[in-house]
Point group: D2
Chain length 130, copies 4
Amino acid sequence: MSFSLSLKVRDYECDMQGIVNNAIYQHYLEHAPHEYLLSHGLSFAEMTREGIVIVLVRAELDYRKSLQAGDEFQVTVKAARPTPVRLVFEQSILHEQDAPTILEARIICTAVNAVGSPYFPEQLADLIDG
Amino acid sequence: MSFSLSLKVRDYECDMQGIVNNAIYQHYLEHAPHEYLLSHGLSFAEMTREGIVIVLVRAELDYRKSLQAGDEFQVTVKAARPTPVRLVFEQSILHEQDAPTILEARIICTAVNAVGSPYFPEQLADLIDG
Amino acid sequence: MSFSLSLKVRDYECDMQGIVNNAIYQHYLEHAPHEYLLSHGLSFAEMTREGIVIVLVRAELDYRKSLQAGDEFQVTVKAARPTPVRLVFEQSILHEQDAPTILEARIICTAVNAVGSPYFPEQLADLIDG
Amino acid sequence: MSFSLSLKVRDYECDMQGIVNNAIYQHYLEHAPHEYLLSHGLSFAEMTREGIVIVLVRAELDYRKSLQAGDEFQVTVKAARPTPVRLVFEQSILHEQDAPTILEARIICTAVNAVGSPYFPEQLADLIDG
């Protein structure tokens, strides 16, 4: 299964180089999976309030090109479960106009329980390809 | 003339209180006027590259209610020119669902030239009510 | 009583104009009072966990000059209680080198209880001049 | 050669989970190398104004533990030049108190010239171990 979110660069996301600041991409890469969850009826905020703590384990980001003020772009998300307790979001950021890849990322998460042990919240099983 | 922009809270904009962080509203209040400019064919980024430096002189923000994760909202913008060199954006943030006012703001700007004197860039005259 | 915090601009806080983005000042104006609280043994994070919800009611910010990459500056904070339920932080941002005022702000807060009524948390009384 | 920067979590950097938001670490990992440059008399802002465009090529971040409100921490930076045109910052974020590793990162950069070709700005050679 895959998911795609359309966004547009906001001027305040650009830094003194006049392009989107590198850290801002991680905001995009957090927002898109949360919207993906919502499209499956799952709210990250609600899960947080219920004590389900999903944490980032590793992020790999390959920056190919820069986004500039006003650029429209898409964040595509694919979810996978490479190990029993890991949830991986394979993501790409694509420029909407002519579709060169801006960034490719691999975001590896897990959930941790009250004693700090990793587990896979069963609510998230729906996100994974059948 | 007035302008309205529809946005949605992103989870990363919320702080430890579980609501949108106070500073983030100023991002919304910067983004909406920039989109307003674009709707008149004016790009803030392009003006910046051309050396037109628009600066904030004073911001007054009245916080009425909080936005939460996932809330959809509208930012409305009205522009005025109360003095020859000042551009004012009267803005409201409204919750889309049932429309209580979230925030009201008055954003007072000017442009400064190379020697630091304030002026009104004539390109912006179109934003003002006739 | 007054309090002063020394900070330094970080490059990622600057936007495409090459100066600190306007919204970032509100981060500084939030951080300095939280450090002021800590200097009185009060943790905003702890109060949040205990259910004490301090909210911003109104912010007035007068922008005088811009901060640039690498600038060192001071945020000064004075607390007042102009009405029984309001806590006001009068703040200035001063450039450390030669001390022209960068920004002056008046940050008006209150706490809200479980039914949304404003009150003044008695822990904060120590912040106010005797 | 290595470099270390002491920082403290600011409350606005924490998100609804009550811990530092994942993207904020990339701000820390940008700020520390910029301070490292400054300790060698090199200003990222000045290089940007002079047209030297340093870009991020790849970021690998291993998140081990979370930082919380008020935590003091250190960012350590080591620079390397694994290929002629690449500058790599090996970075760790360590909790100051008792020193468990919070995060380990590998930040791979290059500079790009006016036609988009990568190169190594000779000013940066000093950062590399002899």
